[in-house]
Amino acid sequence: MSYDFDFAFLNEYGPDLWRGVWLTLGMTAASILPGFVLGTLCAVGRLYGPRWLSRITVIYVEAIRNTPLVIQVFWLFFGLAVLQVRIGAFPAAVIALVINVGAYTAEIMRAGFETIPKGQVEAASCLALTRTQVIWGIQFPQAVERVYPALVSQFVLMMLATSIMSQISAEELTGAAYQIQAFTFRGFEVYLVIAGIYVVMAAGLRLVLLGCATLAFPRRRRLGTPL
């Protein structure tokens, strides 16, 4: 077996790859915060909300976590098209990602809330804090801090999952690669290159998110205690 590797396509199609990188990163950045908010609200609703709300969040979380993202994306994208709702591939991808990652975040945050010792809540009630104040002022910050590494992993996985969005014609990195290999017939090389780019992006995103933690959690910043 002999095969001549040819990476010449990088000269001509480099800008296309670059656009793909930015679209992937944009999609990820646009989904992280809304996904986190949705997940946190679901976790709180499930733990402290009325029974009907708790039921709904359980159904939402289980439905999303037990079906593939691809199917969710197809359902949303092709479904909206049938309903005559004209929406671009990028917003559709972001909506699907937010709904998807929200369900995973909900489970992670629920675990976080459950690790907060009962004594904290009781102490806070003794200080006459309201229920809302206890949840958002006492439990929430500690819960985030505890599960932060798990959240980071989940968001990195989400960034990798954006690679499926080329299936609904969003020209993110994998979509760009597909176009390039169709022109150059250099499929193997193209995908090796973008595999490398994804590795770098995953490591970079992890680093950035962990850097945010150092800024956000004073205990870590001042005392250097691990997350």
């Binding site: 095969y3 037990n66 969710q72 954006t162 299936q167 994998t174 193997f188 590795v199 995953a202």
Partner: protein, 225 residues
């Protein structure tokens, strides 16, 4: 075709077509798990290798690098790399083989990492006690450590099976005929995305949900024990 009185708007033939895709999803999941186990177990052992000597250092670093690398690449890209990789070798392979290899490479990295944790969760003293009983290193591992590690490994492994089944859907990118692909074909033919993809989602759910529940049960039982 109607289930429980719900008109799904598909003919029995179309429904069977989707079911056939579901069968191939199960086949690919099995490939992924069996392949992932046979590659993931050595990886876990290498990652958990005892410190001391250049050999064990190389083992640990090599396996660690593999895990870090694969966990940084999206599965669809791994599918493409394998798909084009085997074809430049001059082999014409069916999509099932390419998808099976990709699933193996991918799931091994995650299973290896899960099992490494399980092996390392067995207290050090167990190794030492086994050594005091004059067991050889292989005996220590097989008779003392492995049974304890396996108990810990059951819940996360079953949980990961769910990930395997769900992620076989990424094989749609290289045109493997699985549940997602067959649903896409039927959608293109009928243009009824809500019905078609709801059915596909339901089938995935029926496969995955029992495993999710089992995984949680095992975990709860272990926490009590």
């Amino acid at each position: 075709m109607s289930i429980l009185g719900l008109p799904l708007g598909l003919t029995p033939d179309q429904f069977l077509f989707i079911l056939r895709g579901a069968g191939w999803t199960l086949v690919l999941s099995l490939f992924g798990f069996v392949g992932g186990t046979s590659l993931g177990l050595p990886l876990a052992l290498a990652r958990a290798a005892r410190k001391g000597g250049l050999g064990s250092w190389l083992l640990r670093q090599g396996a660690g690098a593999y895990v870090a690398l694969v966990q940084g690449i999206p599965l669809p890209v791994i599918m493409f790399v394998v798909y084009f990789g085997v074809s430049i070798g001059g082999f014409e392979v069916p999509a099932l083989v390419a998808a099976g290899i990709a699933m193996t490479l991918w799931s091994a990295a995650y299973l290896g990492e899960i099992w490494r944790g399980c092996i390392q969760a067995v207290p050090r003293t167990q190794w030492e006690a086994a050594e005091c009983l004059a067991l050889t290193p292989a005996q220590r591992f097989v008779h003392v450590i492995l049974p304890q590690a396996m108990r810990v490994a059951v819940p996360p492994t079953v949980g990961f099976l769910v990930q395997i089944v769900k992620n076989t859907s990424y094989s749609v990118v290289i045109g493997f005929f699985d549940l997602t692909y067959s649903a896409k074909v039927i959608n293109n033919a009928t243009y009824k995305p809500f019905q078609v993809f709801t059915i596909a989602a339901l089938i995935y759910f029926l496969i995955c949900y029992p495993m999710s529940v089992a995984s949680r049960r095992f975990e709860a039982r272990m926490r009590r024990a």
